[in-house]
Symmetry: C2
Subunit: 132 residues, 2 copies
DNA sequence: TTGCTCCTCACGTCACGTGAGGTGGC
DNA sequence: TTGCTCCTCACGTCACGTGAGGTGGC
């Protein structure tokens, strides 16, 4: 949570956008887009303007990548991550937020089932192809 | 393959776009879009201009719907269906077309595996949600 | 005749892709 | 100094969504 200054001694390893792209499998454009809309803002910038990502940023992007197959809009991802974050703060651990998380969980479960249905449809198509 | 005239006696049951939308789960707009780009053209029109779909059209749309989870572009679907169709005609059953079909099959198999990977990522995300 | 279905524009949206032109970092 | 990485516009794309305004079908 605490933001570290790049100029601090024994600076933690920060990464440029290219390294993050490699580690997440997301494109440079996608990472910039997420920065723009606030889904995941780069933690800092170099003097020259290069985005700097921390290890936490990377972890969060890996979570985002895991959400993608469930077909969330980026706005929905922002909302979901906000609730999860707030539950990690003492002040945000309210019945209201717990309720919201439960709703997101139910929704995610339904999306997972839809994905399984899609896999079933894909398999039916593969079977049709094999019959040719 | 033979196109039947709507005015023929004992006309086969043709369907309006709404019925097709219901039976396929595709939106009216999606069906019109597929008509526009030639992925699936309505077999006919009423005098007043209403699209008419045959049972064959419906079957084809159900195939298209099964292809969707594999993430094909509409252009790719057109190309794939064209190859399958041509193999059903005597004149189109060429080594060339069989080769093309084999390539599409391999690609479809890879796409299926990608879908399974996505399901795995979704499950990792669900697990993360449960840990909250 | 009523109302429900369907029609054609045509602009909007979402999540980026793709240059163009320029500069930072080691 | 070189070249590779990164930057910001800004327009393009794909697969539709969403009205607006009008008409067909039973």
């Amino acid at each position: 949570v605490s933001q570290r200054d790049v100029s601090e001694d024994a600076a933690p390893q920060t990464m440029h956008i290219g390294e993050i792209a490699e580690k997440t499998g997301l494109s440079l454009r996608t990472l910039r887009h997420y920065d723009e809309i606030g889904l995941l803002r780069a933690s800092g910038r170099t003097e020259g303007g290069f985005r700097l990502y921390t290890h936490d940023d990377l972890q969060r992007l890996l979570v985002i990548r895991r959400m993608k197959p469930l077909g969330y809009s980026l706005e929905e991802m922002i909302a979901l991550l906000r609730v999860v974050d707030s539950l990690h703060e003492a002040s945000g651990d309210t019945p209201d937020n717990r309720e919201r998380l439960a709703e997101f969980s139910d929704d995610a479960q339904r999306r997972r089932e839809a994905l399984v249905t899609q896999l079933g449809m894909a398999d039916e198509f593969l079977e049709l192809l094999r019959q040719q």
